[in-house]
């Protein structure tokens, strides 16, 4: 029962994270979801995963979010509700329906005798060596693309062309305006080639 209670608290925090209009508060609520997740993982006998979750989930991701908010600025959006949006707000009903279905499902019988004998590190480094390798590749490519994305470089001509007639550019404040270089050749979008 304690796990269900913790999960309900986590769900409350999650709702707050989504509903609040203050982005920094929202990040704090997310971090508390992460902390509760860590506790639940401990009660489920998964201490290593719990440690990684608290350091990466609550620590790294929260820091990154705050960093992104500080660069991108706290912009709150106005919800101009349409009929469609009102329908969306009825969504909790659908969630409940979906949960009922979930509960209706009997849990699969677990097979006895399939117990792990190996330790966490053996499984991670030996049985799932391919996973670890792919994770390293993912991290590596994420770092590379991050460097590329955050690098302060001139836009390629094709992107300028794409971005130029967009109405948002006029709306943006002058300091955030993209520098458009006129002497670059402007490429036609690929659609014309076909």
């Amino acid at each position: 029962m304690d796990k269900l209670g913790l999960l309900l608290v986590a769900a409350y925090c999650a709702i707050q994270a989504i509903r609040t209009t203050n982005l920094l508060l929202s990040v704090l609520w997310l971090a508390s979801v992460s902390a509760l997740t860590t506790i639940i993982l401990f009660t489920l006998d998964a201490p290593q995963a719990a440690v990684i979750e608290i350091s990466v989930g609550a620590g790294l991701v929260a820091v990154l979010l705050v960093f992104a908010i500080s660069i991108a600025g706290e912009e709150t959006l106005h919800n101009h509700d349409t009929l469609w949006k009102k329908m969306l707000r009825r969504f909790p009903l659908i969630t409940v329906l979906f949960l009922l279905l979930w509960i209706l499902l009997p849990l699969p019988e677990t097979q006895p005798g399939a117990k792990d004998t190996a330790t966490f590190s053996t499984i991670l480094w030996e049985d799932r060596a391919l996973d670890v390798l792919l994770q390293i590749v993912i991290i590596f490519s994420a770092v590379l693309s991050l460097l590329g994305l955050l690098a302060d470089q001139k836009l390629p001509a094709a992107v300028q062309h794409y971005a130029a007639p967009h109405p948002l550019n006029e709306a943006a404040s002058p300091t955030e305006q993209v520098a458009i270089v006129d002497d670059e050749p402007i490429l036609e979008p690929e659609r014309e080639l076909a």
């Binding site: 999650a14 991701v61 912009e75 849990l107 117990k115 330790t119 836009l155 948002l168």
Partner: protein
């Protein structure tokens, strides 16, 4: 209902909240946050499956994979969010759409 099933219901609620967030929000950073919530629900579901089948260690190694992938998704999408803000000056997902309809 057994305790495991009750916990699974809790996981479902947390997952549902994340999906609810994705359905409702247009804010790019909020989208990242909602994705993170879904990720947490999935992690707990894996740990639960691990205890039920008594293969916690396998579950833990899978959880580590999920955390890594989830974090990388967050990192890349935040970098994209920053770029979108700098180039187009908005954080509203609706205004990014440039598809011909």
């Amino acid at each position: 209902m057994t305790e495991d099933e009750l916990t699974l219901v809790g996981v479902g609620i947390l997952f549902g909240v994340g999906v609810y967030g994705l359905l409702l929000t247009h804010h790019l950073i909020k989208i990242v946050i909602a994705l993170q919530i879904i990720g947490k629900a999935v992690i707990i579901a894996f740990a639960l499956a691990g205890t039920m089948s008594e293969r916690v260690q396998l579950a833990q190694s899978l959880i580590v994979t999920i955390i890594v992938a989830d974090t990388m998704v967050a990192v890349i999408s935040l970098a994209l969010v920053i770029q979108v803000k700098q180039r187009l000056g908005t954080l509203d997902a609706r205004e990014l759409s440039n598809l011909r309809r």
